[in-house]
Assembly symmetry: C2
Homo-oligomer: 451 residues x 2
């Protein structure tokens, strides 16, 4: 079944019944804010649905998780929400009881400002860890954002800007597709840059025996009508194949959050009774597959934007491991390669150094047999693979040809373990001098230090 | 019990009955050899005992392991050896059947050149992966080294130079101590620089459920008389607390090897029968503890030299995790911090960023409770700790004071999980622009590409 998706402008405000705002309230100057000296940067976003929406979410599995995550988890589990308040410049992580108080005040203050019921607002934060939230500025920002809410593409742009930290550009997308014969829209915005290797679960609890590793924040909106349980199932699946498959630096953040609000406004009956509105409630239905495909597409495009705009990143590499004995093996091998400093620096240099790749597979927890391993390169998504190694032996591919394959800004790395049928992929980045320079910070200017 | 150790010159040739040589035979030019253009660098070392010696060894647990490792494992298990041939410039890893043939030829050719019995020579290699050994040059080098063997400190220096790759200096040490009333010596040399997070075991097999992660090579000699089984026990213990506790970049090599030869020449009876020579054969004896202490010291000093001279390294940090629920937890937390790109770049910048540290603990497999964690700094080995975080809350330590603590070239990072009694430490390095620049290589000059 093929879902026809059409790109539309407006990101999170493309779906009907959503408004947004992004304002500057000086959190960055007070919290962290690399580049905050270079001019005012928006640092508080608000996304509001006109009506209560079904909600789904996934959160970092880091055991040290930020106050906004702790506030969101039980709220999302109730299945309904109407707004999201998010800030950059301060992660509100490792801020103790004051941090929890501040995160709760952010949602309560937003509920009051928007005259929404208690429990209907969610919160996300990103920025420096361990600094108390500047609540006077946050409150002023929420009031300003509430006044500025709107549904033009510019409103989406402002909100997307307001969650950026070390991102060099805003990340957003919206698509339109048919569901139950109606035109439905799905939009999203996200941020990333550093501390990026999300491993998120619906409750922030770790799946047993699953080794998981941005602050990345992603907020999604749709005007489809979806049962909360079904919405969560769809989001789990989409995140498993997108945000949970990316790495910039292998560091999993304390704040990773993905939230999806579905307000059903595409099916507004204009006064007719609610019963006639088609609601997605069966994960085995054809309509569910359409929605899932659209959500997968939006999440994957946003996840790739995070890697491409990672701190100091100059190359985007899709690591495809196939032929593993189990998914856990394929995943472990792909992550080991995607996070190896020696592999990542060789990508940066355009060096087709398969020795470092097979080394990283070999020390991963995955079962690997050296003389069965194939390693090769293709264009992104390409089927024409230039193999540098087959069955553990160098092929006749010339160094020049291999250099040409890895000289592209984006390429796929194919690793076949030839031991089984399981596979996994990771969207990965190189490691550059710029990454080091950016993250070493400048202690002579504490206010400019990164998260 | 305190073992009095005296530093003596001569490294591996300090113990009686050992000779060494280090020669240039052009492997670096043909294999890899960063800097080989800058002048001839010694690339083949030979260490020879005058008499058969007891031997112990530990090898990389990387599933992709080099031919010399495969050749050594069964030879070491036989418990006796008389010489080691080692080269830099070519790792002889991922070289298939030809690689095994070449590694075997290296030991056989050395046996012939030195007229030693079959099975008595061991081999170690380091350098670029996946390139066939230039055997004509290797044979010429072995013959030259056999001719040049000697026991002056200069011979030790030449051998230590010959195993260097990206090392900026030779690494060697020798100590003298009393055993059974006699003066015994223990010497060693090693190399490191990049692809450094050894996890070695006696057979190269992975201990169950132990996540392990340079090429590092280390060759040790002693004129003590030790039973092979006891020698292996002592080496296992010494390596567990030294080489297996270091990381430069988190990449475990295909070639990591530690070998220890004990020839008993300190107890030469000058013609009296062998029965009167006191042999270490009981691991519960006081004499064993003396030997163990000396071996621990030599291995730890050599291991620290590897971290201090790691590629691009500007800081040496001892990560001390205490109060963990289990050793596995303590180890996992320490490795997570020691290998986090964000933590390592903050060390480079002299930024006391505890947020990145607690983040890295939180995503490690170790059980961590945020509001129990203490984080602080001291001078190396110091008891005066400046705490930046106590029970998850920032202390009153000023940013300036914390900056001063991490401005040192060497410092200890103290992490108390306060959940149990287990502890672990890692000797770690920062991540610098120089590391990236060095390892991205220069594809316009394939001969100059690193391992």
């Amino acid at each position: 079944m093929k879902t026809t998706l059409k790109l539309v402008p407006g990101s999170i405000v493309a779906p009907r019944g959503f408004r947004a705002a992004g304002v500057f309230c000086d959190i960055k100057r007070l919290g962290t804010g690399k580049g905050s000296q270079k001019g005012k940067k928006r640092d508080l976003a608000l996304i509001v649905s006109d009506v209560p929406a079904a909600v789904a979410g996934l959160f970092t599995t880091n055991q040290v998780c930020a106050a906004p995550v702790k506030v969101c988890v039980p709220r999302v589990q109730r299945g309904s929400a109407q707004a999201v308040v998010a800030n950059s410049g301060n992660a509100n992580a490792c801020t103790g009881k004051q941090g929890m108080k501040d995160a709760l005040e952010m949602v309560h203050f937003t509920e009051q400002a928007l005259t929404l019921p208690t429990g209907s607002v969610l919160v996300g934060s990103t920025g420096r860890i361990g600094v108390a939230m500047p609540m006077d500025e946050v409150r002023a920002g929420i009031i300003e954002a509430a006044v500025e809410l709107g549904a033009t593409p510019a409103h989406g742009d402002y909100a997307a800007e307001a969650i950026m930290t070390s991102d060099t550009r805003a990340k957003q997308i919206a698509v339109e597709f048919k569901l139950f014969g109606r035109t439905v829209r799905l939009g999203g915005m996200c941020k990333g840059a550093g501390m990026i290797q999300p491993g998120m679960s619906p409750t922030g609890a770790r799946p047993a025996a699953t080794p998981l590793h941005a602050t990345m924040l992603c907020f999604l909106t749709t005007d489809a009508l979806v049962a909360p349980r079904v919405l969560q199932t769809a989001l789990n699946e989409a995140v498993a194949n997108s945000f949970n498959r990316i790495t910039v630096d292998g560091d999993m953040s304390t704040n990773d959050t993905v939230l999806l609000l579905a307000n059903g406004k595409a099916f507004d009956t204009g006064g007719k009774k609610a019963g006639s509105r088609p609601r997605l409630k069966d994960t085995r239905s054809k309509e569910f597959l359409v929605f899932q495909a659209a959500l997968n597409h939006v999440c994957l495009e946003l996840a790739k934007m995070i890697v491409r705009d990672g701190e100091g990143v100059s190359r985007f590499v899709t690591v495809r491991v196939t032929g593993a004995r189990s998914f856990a093996d394929a995943d472990a091998a792909a992550r080991s390669v995607a996070n190896s400093p020696l592999v990542k620096t060789s990508w940066h240099g355009g060096d087709p150094n398969w020795g470092r790749i097979i080394d990283a597979i070999g020390y991963s927890p995955a079962t690997v047999v050296e003389d069965k391993v194939d390693i090769g390169y293709s264009a992104p998504g390409g089927r024409q693979v230039l193999w540098s190694l087959k069955r553990g032996q160098p092929t006749k591919a010339t160094f020049k040809a291999l250099c040409a394959a890895v000289a592209r800004r984006e390429f796929d790395l194919h690793i076949r373990l030839n031991l089984g049928r399981a596979e996994a992929l990771m969207y990965a980045a190189d490691l550059t001098e710029e990454y080091v320079d950016f993250n070493k910070g400048d202690v002579s200017d504490p206010a400019a230090l990164g998260g």
